[in-house]
């Protein structure tokens, strides 16, 4: 049976080569994936745009927005503005197209709402016209498409791009042309480059980690925690941020380990956690691993006061509740938006979105919807389509919306999400929302329920944010009868 036939040998050789190649590719991919975002391109294109008549496909009625050689794009002297062109760039094809699509829906919903309510009133009811472009998740395409929107479409505001890798180069372009951009992207660099035309309203990894720790400290009095996170880009950044923030809250990280996405067995890892005996577990895991984690925590009888997921990842996926069933109960999530949080306009947003698209919105939809709100609100207050005036209005923003209050940090204030950012060469963050806007959500009776903060006071008004009381600490598996 073990006769060494030549063809079998060859088969083996090829199989081995294939596996080795796969491993090399995997490891290589991991390194590339974990490497920092590509350095901003230092492209110095001279902007001498000759007016290209062929590009005017749509019938624009006002004197065609002639793109002159200077940077001012619209003609402010024109008295009656009929439409305001806003550019939006997302990954609409490629591997992350599904997420890009959600963002676009969020923006489109806000455009629909504003236009149906009579457009921008301070501009005589001018309608918002959305110019959509697809960056395929590619940083280079993201920059070139943004440039195209500015130079040939004449947009006066920008919304994008979901991934930090595509948002960083796109905002390099908007900054160069002085077009205000309200972004949805996670990296601290987005607002940390000294740019004056970039604004971010939604919370990112520092804020979710911060609020998660505040909850653990103030509500639960937790002193020790373990970090068990996915080894991909988000998980590894989150692990770093959580380790850096923990001492600020008097929490001792007694165990820290990352695991690869799509692991089939987590028990050896969970047994190590059990030995370290932390009071809380901070977890980042995608859906399969999140399900496996709670399932195997029960199997090894690992009991903690809190299993909390800063940023959510797989834990705030509806599949987690559906497939996890009873095992999913009590899990806590620190996330920037929740459908049942009591922020102003939130219930209307959820209702309207569900009516229009036939499915409930998720946080990806909301961050884009919120960005669109911020930009259109600024245009309304500016009463102008001059990008400079819109920027001024953005700087003066002081409002509250579906994920909480919004007020942007100004140049020279020295605002920083965390001092550790100085190590990355970030001196200050400009255009960053100074409010944390993160809520704690818990799985209660098969539903995601916002449990913290109970109330938030904003401009003298008390807003009830939480929909229920947190059920803490998490009972042991034995007490749960599982």
């Amino acid at each position: 049976m073990s006769e060494g036939q030549p063809s079998r040998r060859t088969a083996l050789k090829i199989a081995v080569t294939a596996i080795v190649c796969g491993v090399i590719a995997g490891v290589g991919g991991w390194f590339i994936g974990s490497a920092a975002a590509p350095p901003p391109r230092t492209e110095t294109k001279t902007v001498t745009k000759t007016v290209a008549p062929k590009t005017y496909t749509t019938t624009v009625t006002p004197p065609p927005v002639t793109i002159t050689k200077t940077k001012t794009v619209t003609v402010t002297a024109t008295p009656a503005v009929k439409e305001v062109k806003i550019g939006t760039v997302w990954p609409l094809t490629g591997p992350i197209a599904a997420s890009g699509e959600k963002h676009l829906k969020g923006v489109e919903l806000r455009v629909k709402e504003v236009n149906e309510a009579g457009g921008i009133k301070s501009l005589g009811g001018a309608k918002i016209k959305l110019v959509v472009a697809d960056n395929q998740g590619d940083p280079k395409i993201s920059a070139s498409e943004t440039e195209r929107l500015i130079t040939t479409e004449g947009i006066v505001g920008f919304i994008g791009c979901y991934t930090s890798g595509t948002t960083l180069p796109a905002t390099e372009v908007t900054e160069r042309y002085k077009i205000p951009a309200v972004v949805s992207a996670g990296s601290p660099k987005v607002t940390g480059r000294g740019f004056k035309y970039v604004f971010r309203a939604h919370a990112e990894v520092f804020k979710t980690a911060k609020v998660t720790f505040e909850f653990l400290k103030k509500v639960m009095g937790v002193k020790t925690a373990a970090i068990v996170m996915d080894s991909g880009a988000y998980g590894s950044i989150s692990a770093k941020v959580c380790s850096a923030l923990a001492p600020d809250y008097g929490i001792d990280i007694v165990f820290k380990e990352l695991f690869p996405t799509g692991t089939t067995d987590m028990k050896p890892l969970l047994l190590k956690v059990k030995e370290a005996a932390p009071e809380a577990i901070l977890a980042v895991a995608y859906i399969a691993d999140a399900l496996l984690m709670v399932r195997q925590m029960r199997e090894v009888d690992l009991n903690v006061k809190a299993l909390i997921a800063p940023g959510g990842a797989g834990f705030n996926d509806l599949t987690f509740i559906k497939e996890g069933g009873k095992l999913a109960e009590y899990v806590l999530i620190g996330i920037y938006w929740s459908p049942d949080a009591g922020w102003p306009h939130n219930a209307e947003f959820v209702k309207h979105y569900t009516e229009v698209y036939g499915e409930p919105p998720d946080p990806l939809v909301e961050e884009a919807y919120e960005a669109a709100y911020v930009l259109f609100d600024a245009i309304e207050r500016a009463g102008s389509t001059d990008p400079e005036k819109i920027r001024e209005a953005l700087v003066a923003t002081e409002t509250i919306w579906t994920a909480g209050p919004i007020k942007f940090s100004k140049p020279g204030e020295g605002f920083l999400l965390h001092p550790m950012l100085k190590k990355l060469g970030i001196k200050e963050q400009i255009g960053e929302n100074i409010y944390d806007n993160t809520v704690i959500v818990q799985v209660q009776d098969g539903k995601f329920v916002t449990v913290w903060p109970e109330t938030v006071t904003w401009k003298g008004k008390t807003i009830k944010v939480a929909a229920a009381k947190p059920r803490v600490p998490m009972p042991t598996w034995k007490e749960r009868g599982l």
């Binding site: 690869p260 067995d265 029960r298 069933g325």
Partner: protein
């Protein structure tokens, strides 16, 4: 106190890995076709088990014969139609065909059943504790079942007339044909059986893991390593190889890091190829 528990978990996982590898080793040994789509046949069986559980409440252990029969039929049909023409073709052609098949199966599953993760809800099993060990009933049962199926297969191949014919086809197809063995038929049945074993493995895995279209990929890589570890075509070697691999994985993730557990597996693999390329359990050549 944790170490024995970790070892136990490793052995349990290894049993499932072994079952995944036996079907592969059979097809490779008898037909010299590397069935790269093996893990994806497991995935098909996992969905079958899932739907039988959801719609008819059928216990996954009881659906083992059903998924074996179903995949036996699928395997034979595929062998007749697309695998047979490449049996004597160069290895590269065979691999391209198999990779094509696995891409097709994965995308078909994603199309029909979406990328969502599924689990047999309410089938989490009872946690047994004894002497300070904790063991989940379903996992123990899956392990026992995997061992039983492997032993039965071993008896079938090593102790029956049909098994002798299979081995004859594997060693020397021409001589086997001269002895009056219907080689194409044996190949057909052996391929069907190999795929059926993927079915059994798939049904068992549903009790401990989640179901999604690309679930087969992890298992095929592990199964390939086991096949080489145990010696190609060696069923008992596959069982031992599976358990060794389960242990290596568990111990690497316990002592080093779970991020590096596959590295542990591949270090073993590379060492093996360097020092015992014929496999740990290959018999001395006569």
């Amino acid at each position: 106190m944790l170490l024995p528990q970790v070892i136990l978990e490793g052995v349990m996982v290894g049993g499932i890995y072994a079952l995944a590898a036996t079907g592969l080793t059979l097809v490779l040994g008898v037909m010299r076709v590397l069935n790269l789509a093996h893990g994806h046949f497991m995935m098909i069986a996992m969905y079958l088990t899932y739907f039988l559980y959801v719609f008819f409440g059928l216990d996954p252990f009881l659906s083992i014969p059903i998924s074996m029969l179903f995949l036996f039929a699928v395997g034979m049909a595929l062998q007749r139609t697309i695998v047979r023409p490449v049996i004597d073709a160069p290895v590269v052609n065979q691999m391209i065909l198999m990779i094509g098949l696995l891409i097709f199966l994965e995308n078909m599953a994603a199309f029909l059943w979406t990328h969502n993760y599924r689990a047999l809800k309410g089938y989490e099993g009872v946690v047994l504790s004894f002497f300070g060990f904790r063991l989940v009933s379903t996992r123990l049962a899956a392990f026992a079942m995997a061992v039983i199926i492997t032993v039965l297969l071993y008896i079938l191949v090593m102790r029956t007339k049909w098994g002798r014919a299979v081995r004859a086809c594997s060693t020397d197809p021409d001589a086997a044909m001269l002895m009056g063995i219907n080689v194409p038929r044996i190949r057909l049945q052996a391929f069907g059986l190999g795929v059926a074993l993927a079915g059994a493995a798939g049904s068992l895995i549903t009790t401990t893991y989640y179901i999604f279209p690309s679930v087969g990929m992890h298992y095929i890589i592990v199964a390939l390593v086991i096949v080489v570890l145990g010696g190609m075509g060696n069923i008992f070697g596959a069982l031992a190889g599976g358990i060794i691999l389960g242990l290596v994985e568990a111990l690497t993730s316990f002592y080093v890091s779970s991020q590096l557990k596959l590295i542990g597996v591949f270090i073993v693999f590379i060492l093996l190829l360097l020092f015992r390329p014929e496999g740990l359990f290959a018999r001395k050549r006569g």
